[in-house]
């Protein structure tokens, strides 16, 4: 009995120690990337490459996700609102939900899946093939060369993608609302201007910026943390996606609580 309790305490201790070590590593990585973000040379070309990859190359998937989200959400709201004869409120409800929650969160999940995975896989495979060592031996800081452009690229791209998501999502809702459900176009639009303000759009954009930063730092951290060969790269990629998505959802809750108070 005593041995079993001791064993359990040992396991618990080892897990706590591992968690603290991981947290320390992550904090150290974060501080290093912040330091090297502001230290010259500024690698504009690498940043533009990442903006193109994270931003431009994600447009199609954002288009698909947002148009169907807006359309489905409008239809679901209609089903509920029709019962209380308030179906003309579809426009503001869908648009507010898109601006404050759906656009930043779903864009974040899409980018975490698509780009967080790519960041971890690219950096991880460079690590296992000694390409990161090659950079360091040349005197190039690998954090500055590989992590910073990806983190800054994701931070700048996600609010833009979120804005695109909002516009396309609105378009999907408008199509369903005015062409399928047959709400008057003027009413659809005027209700939105009655209930929405810029603070709601700002809330979504701030959230998207924070999500972009977090996805960038989590993706690159798991890339640099890859150990071993192909299996390690797969594990790192998986961790980047899982933790990226979980972080978006959890941080969204706290950001919503905070931003609702100040905006």
């Amino acid at each position: 009995m005593k041995q079993m309790v001791e064993r359990r305490i040992e396991i618990l201790g080892a897990n706590v120690l591992s968690l603290l070590t991981g947290l320390g590593d992550f904090t150290n990585f974060t501080m290093r990337t912040i330091f090297w973000t502001f230290k010259p040379p500024y690698r504009w070309k690498l940043l533009f490459d990442q903006l193109y990859f994270i931003g431009n190359k994600s447009i199609f998937i954002i288009f698909l996700t947002s148009s169907f989200t807006g359309a489905v959400f409008a239809f679901q709201i209609y089903v509920g609102m029709k019962v209380i004869n308030a179906d003309s409120f579809i426009g503001p409800i869908v648009t507010i939900a898109l601006a404050k929650e759906l656009a930043p969160v779903l864009s974040g999940l899409v980018v975490a899946g698509r780009c967080g995975a790519a960041m971890a896989a690219q950096i991880g495979s460079m690590k296992v093939t000694e390409q990161i060592d090659a950079l360091e031996v040349m005197g190039i800081n690998s954090y500055q060369y590989l992590a910073v452009p990806r983190i800054v690229g994701a931070t700048l791209s996600l609010p833009l993608l979120s804005a695109v998501f909002l516009m396309i999502g609105y378009g999907g809702a408008w199509l369903i609302g005015t062409k399928v459900i047959q709400i008057d176009e003027a009413i659809f639009a005027s209700k939105i201007s009655d209930f929405m303000d810029l603070g709601m759009v700002a809330e979504g954009l701030i959230k998207a910026t924070v999500f972009g930063y977090l996805i960038g730092i989590i993706g690159t951290y798991h890339g640099f943390g890859v150990e071993g060969g192909a299996e390690g790269v797969g594990k790192g990629t998986n961790m980047a996606v899982v933790w990226g998505m979980i972080t978006v959802l959890v941080v969204d809750f706290f950001l919503t609580s905070f931003l609702t108070k100040i905006l």
């Binding site: 495979s125 460079m126 093939t129 000694e130 390409q131 060592d133 090659a134 040349m138 005197g139």
Partner: protein, 249 residues
């Protein structure tokens, strides 16, 4: 022998990772203008030793002196500048897989020199030619090159900034015997073509036959200790039983 005859000196270097002692009070000097091979079984501490030379790992105690600078006593930024004195060929070449052969060799030139595109092109094509890479292969990605070609492009990249010290980490692993000797010939030619300006070559290897043929000096390591540091002829005559075992392989 005076200190200025050494490019690299290890002075009472001990390295511990937790409770594990990887280098045990290591003392030696690597001579300028010579080819020195660090030889030993797997796990002897060879790679840790090379990482100390590059300043990628710092000693727990003792000093590593490279070209007169105690590299474990300088700051990170200064160390990064200092590393431009090194060229390195990695075990599997470590070419950047998103760049062509040309771009791989041009990479350090673009990062650290103010050469214009025409000058870079001339230098890169010259380097690729010197290691036997045909101009048409310059535009290929590393994945389109053979193992031997990748090593040669890696050597060209390592030489791009005219380093004072060239390091080779298991440069022939995974290569067939003929390509192995081609790569060693190339390393030797590279060394003697550059020896006028104080060039030093350090090879990490466990290929005893190539080491005896191509090296000037051999450092033999076992369990974190430098067992012998001798010129090749003396090494061949060593009575040390571990070395005898290695020589009889």
């Amino acid at each position: 022998m005076t200190n200025d005859q050494y490019s690299i000196e290890f002075k009472n270097v001990t390295k511990k990772f937790g409770e594990t002692v990887v280098l045990k009070n290591v003392n030696f000097g690597i001579r300028k203008d010579k080819i020195t091979t660090v030889l030993g079984f797997s796990g002897a501490g060879k790679t840790t030793l090379m990482k100390h030379i590059l300043g990628l790992t710092m000693p727990t105690t003792g000093d590593v002196v490279v070209l007169g600078t105690i590299i474990n006593q300088i700051g990170e930024l200064e160390l990064r500048e200092f590393r431009r004195n090194f060229g390195m060929v990695f075990q599997y070449a470590a070419l950047f897989d998103f760049l062509t052969s040309f771009e791989n060799v041009a990479f350090p030139l673009r990062e650290f020199t103010k050469m214009n595109e025409a000058e870079i092109k001339e230098k890169v094509m010259g380097l690729l030619k010197s290691v036997g890479i045909a101009p048409e292969a310059a535009l290929r990605l590393p994945s389109e090159l053979s193992g031997g070609m990748r090593k040669r492009v890696g050597l060209a990249r390592g030489l791009a900034l005219d380093p004072h010290i060239m390091l080779y980490d298991e440069p022939t692993s995974g290569l067939d015997p003929i390509t192995t000797h081609m790569v060693y010939d190339l390393m030797r030619d590279t060394h003697y073509n550059n020896v006028d300006h104080g060039f030093t070559s350090v090879i990490i290897s466990h290929d005893i036959h190539a080491t005896l043929k191509y090296s000037d000096y051999i450092i033999f390591m076992e369990n974190g200790l430098v067992v012998e540091h001798l010129d090749v002829e003396s090494f061949k005559k060593s009575e040390n039983p571990v070395i005898r075992r290695f020589l009889e392989l």
